[in-house]
Amino acid sequence: MNARDLVLLVVDAFGGEIQGKTWLQKRCYFVALLCSWHDQIGFEAHYYGPYSGEIDNAAGQLRALGFLEESRAAFGGIGEGGFGVSRYDYRLTPDGHNIASVRKERGPDTWEAIEGAVRRIQEAGDPNYVELSIAAKAYYLLEQKGGPASADDLSQLAQGFGWQITGQQVERAWQFLKQLDLIQIIRGGN
């Protein structure tokens, strides 16, 4: 899987539109994770959680090719949660939809895997970008640590990174990881 196809198909699978660069990154991260492609996409530790420069570059290339539209809603500054509040929204163009259809037709297994991952994310509550970021960062760090952690641990972890996160948000992120069976995977030694 390459980053360009992943972005194209993930945006398509989420209805042709994703609001915000962070949401795009984290949704791609979880889809790649659930499909076991995350190593191929080059996700690295980052202040706001796992981040892939390849995803960013792929979005840029898709825009230049006329397959993805980007619009920017600038709110300025940093929000209370510690996340940037200016937002880039991404929407597939008609040409982008056509190319996505070609990809689905030529790679039905890949598309099925992406659709399945997106369905699991949606069934697990389809968290907003803040909750998804917390879940992604938490999973990433837990995976590195290789040990179990409680919701309190996650809350402390978030505070250590300067994020003002509510207990409810942490609980939701925690539930999300549990519903995706990712925590089980860690305990299973993967």
Binding site: D56, A64, G66, I78, G96
Partner: protein, 472 residues
Amino acid sequence: MSVDRQIRCPVHGFIHLHAEHADIVASRAFQRLRGIRQLAFANLVYPGALHTRFDHSLGVYHVAQLLGKQLKLSSSELGLVQLAALVHDLGHGPFSHVSENVLERYADREKLAGRIKSKEKIHELVTADIVLADDELAQCTTPKDRERVVSLLTAAYGEPLLRDLVSGPLDADKQDYLLRDSMFCGVQYGVFDLHQLHRSLCVGEQGEEKSLMIKATGVHALEQFILAKYYLTTQVYGHRVRLITDHMLTRAVVLGIEVDGIDELRALYAYDGEPSFAERYAEWDDARLLLTYTDQKFEGKYCHKLLTRLVRRRLLKQVFARPVTKEVFLDEHVRDALARLTGSEDKPDEREQQEKLRARLEDALAEAISETLEAEVDPRLVVLNLYTVKSVRAQSREDEKAVLVDGPPQPVPFEERSTLFRSIDQRMDETVVEVYAPVAYETEAEKRTLLNLLHDPMMAVLQDHLSQGGEA
């Protein structure tokens, strides 16, 4: 017993070489870098660009030393970073990055299964082999240090701060090559204020981890550094003639292996992880490759033909160049197929498919040129090149991560803090398709006439062959 030395460097002044590192510099593996030019045949565009990986490696060592002192690294951390800086390019083959492309193409991936981690480059594995197994390096470094350096260079070492200094958006490597390449090319594009940039750096803490960040007051110093990188990339590394020379070199080796059937060349590039590979590889540099294959006994071979053209500066010429945009290529399938030819395919079977498509296109393009100019053009000397120019904003971060500006209240990405970069439109990424061919023109007017003449036939070939997404 070695002693500390002062080495004069045209970029940095005196470089202080510690006694513990002097034996590394004296080793055969390091001295080989004197024979590998930093920018391959860039001297055909910029005559001064004759500097080598040897000079650069010493420069990176020096910059690492400055960075370590600025950031108050412990002596063991500094020693490790400097060692990594010194040996980071030992795996470079003849003509630097040209060898990287060829290594990727011919590596024996079946034999290497399990050894290549995702995104790891073959030349990095070659560097690791040399660092870990070279006899002379083994005499002047401990096994533990060599292991740690290899981990650091392959981005696996657990300390993000040290990794940032060796292979991150602000690493010592970039800081040296921007200044060095600018100086030797005789351009000012890559110049930035090294010392001000260093004064602007700090160690940021993210949870329990330390990493390299920029102080809030250092945003302008970083802007200058990123613009330097952007300009040098677009004006020097991406210079049309320099790209042609790189493609001619790569094509010379590929045709030498695949058409001329030169086993020695295949053995040089077919990396299999065996100790004999690194031993063989370490025997080659730019001069040996050129002298060997421009020798009379290879006359008539493609490898000889292309290398001789390079030596005599009879270069392929650009006969077509267009951006891959909707305005130029209305059919989205054509744009998509061209983008896929930029080499972003990861699966070997997909890569192979793309290579076949490229070969078919080059055959058709050669035929179109032959018909238009009424002159025979060898399709093996026609090169279809696709590349993407990243926006200046994208240049502000490496593939791995963004640069962070230290808080309070918390670090923020540089792009959000810089007024200049925040205002730059990200949609400036551009993919470009070019065709190079063995044609001749002398004047600008002749060039324009030729490009005009070939424009429609080249467009027709691309559209006809790619309108179904490049399917055969």
